[in-house]
Subunit: 327 residues, 2 copies
């Protein structure tokens, strides 16, 4: 329990995703004291989403019997291209956002300093510090959720590049002329292996008469489908869903190989909701395909693993950011 008189001792990490918002309250030692969750409701517009983030933070703080006045800073991971210096989300196709001043808006609602970073970078930061204990010299994080985010660690720091947007691996094209992506292009990694891509592929096949256990489980419209439903269907013997997930794992393996060929990191960590739900179904295929496609000799000794942090990677990483910025 936090001491009642303690002030500005705590930090909050927020993970804003295309589907849900997570908030966690942390000590300076990154111990999680409590958390809260809300659906994003992106379709209601950015103003509503920003209010929902503020409520989610307040709920998490209240859950720990704390007050906002005791919060030193809030780290926030947001999807898409973000400008962390001005605190704006520049372009987030999965939210339908362009140029939203989220830092300013949230600071007005909460009265606590907000530190913004791309969600892929944030999750990478979380995995690197909380799971790998900041040991590898270099690391790539790949997070398969609604979309696909990523981040690069180099010499213990996030590598962000010239426009601070490095690590946008979800929009690496791996299939020129392939399926349409939310960003407007075709054949992005996200468009062939992100959750939305998988769900669309399944829904389209069902419309064309494909039989699957998913319709028995969720109804003909497959409404409220989750990654866990795919796991259940596969474990009950659904060959069609198995094939769709296997293909996504192969595409992911190709993406991992590309990153090994280009950036040659010491460790590649995969995470996000899709990997959490389908680790047993996907990881072996991802690792095998990555080694097949990495140029001979480039992948020697490189570790490819699934994150153990699950959903917490984002809030832990956001807390690491807030701790760093309020030191």
């Amino acid at each position: 329990m936090p001491e009642p008189g303690a002030k500005h001792e705590y930090i909050v990490g927020v993970d804003l995703g295309g589907t849900k918002i997570l908030a966690g309250v942390f000590t300076q030692q990154l111990k999680c004291l409590g958390r809260s969750k809300a659906s994003t409701k992106a379709q209601r517009g950015s103003e509503v989403v920003i209010e929902r983030i503020a409520h989610c933070v307040m709920d998490a703080v209240d859950e720990c019997d704390l007050d906002l006045k005791q919060i030193r800073g809030i780290g926030l991971g947001a999807p898409g291209a973000v400008d962390s210096e001005t605190g704006r989300v520049i372009f987030a196709p999965n939210l339908g956002w362009e140029d939203k001043p989220i830092k300013k808006d949230l600071e007005k609602l909460l009265g606590v300093p907000i530190f913004l970073e791309n969600d892929g970078n944030i999750c990478t930061l979380g995995v690197y510090h909380a799971e790998l204990e900041a040991k590898p010299k270099s690391m790539v994080g790949i997070f398969l959720g609604t979309g696909i985010g990523g981040g690069l660690m180099l010499d213990g720091k996030l590598y962000t590049g010239f426009n601070r947007t490095a690590g946008e691996i979800g929009h690496m094209v791996i299939q020129v002329g392939g399926p349409k992506c939310g960003c407007g292009n075709r054949g992005c990694f996200e468009a062939v292996a992100g959750r939305q891509a998988l769900f669309r592929k399944i829904q389209a096949a069902v419309k064309e008469g494909q039989k699957t256990l998913l319709t028995e489980m969720l109804g003909e419209n497959l409404s409220d489908m989750r990654s866990g439903d795919l796991r259940k269907a596969i474990r009950r013997g659904d060959k069609f869903v198995d094939q769709v997930v296997e293909e996504a794992a192969e595409y992911t393996g190709v993406a991992v190989a590309n990153l090994i060929n280009i950036f040659n990191p010491e460790v590649v960590v995969l995470g996000g909701g899709v990997i959490d739900a389908l680790e047993d179904e996907m990881m072996a295929i991802i690792i095998e395909t990555a080694h097949d496609y990495a140029l001979s000799g480039t992948d020697k000794g490189i570790e490819i693993r699934a994150s153990k942090l699950g959903d917490d990677a984002g809030i832990v990483g956001a807390a690491v950011l807030a701790r760093r910025e309020t030191k």
Copy 2:
């Protein structure tokens, strides 16, 4: 003219390509005193190629009225995955080499210290120092020759990664299931936009009855085709060759966008024989496609340019390496 009594004052840079070997003799100030060129003749096996490199170096040194005894060190750029610490070419599909101890063999033939690096890294080093005056914080070099090599500069140094193989961008898959690559995979950047890929595409189309000015210029077998022949055919109005080159430029633009999304460098420089010969035909398309495919906001202010060094990028970069290692 070099002073006759000067000893160990000079350095040699060698660029070993799939088609030709270039060697240049340089002063410590990177002034080129003389050069030599030979065809690689990879089909004759690695022993012959290594002897040809040694002869090419001796010819360049002789051309400057110098003696090998006056050479401080020799930098060597070789294609494929190389281990610069042990001086071995690990895997070079365009030469048909696996695990060749080229440093040891050449030191035996020449009696001068040899410093080995991947040719894409070497060309990147050359462009960064001799053309960009070591100014950008980060840079990606992309070199389209027989194959496609590349390199990453970060904070003034070559970024080589965990296995010292970073920057193998020619084997980034951009078209899963696409054309077969020399590395054994399908759909690599090199397999859709390298010179060998273009030539094979043209040869296959001609076999199937495609009309082109190239057969008038070079005969039905299109033997000894060079990138410059494609330029000549396009300028004489050959729509088919124009289309093939345009497609390669589009694929290259996609690859540039991928690198901007992932690594977000300050400058992207394109070079190599294909770009040298077809700069006017390709660069505008490469730049336009790269901006189309880069995620909105990630490409702001990033310069995409063709190298002015032409064929010299490799020998200059190799000289930079030798100078650094013999200081």
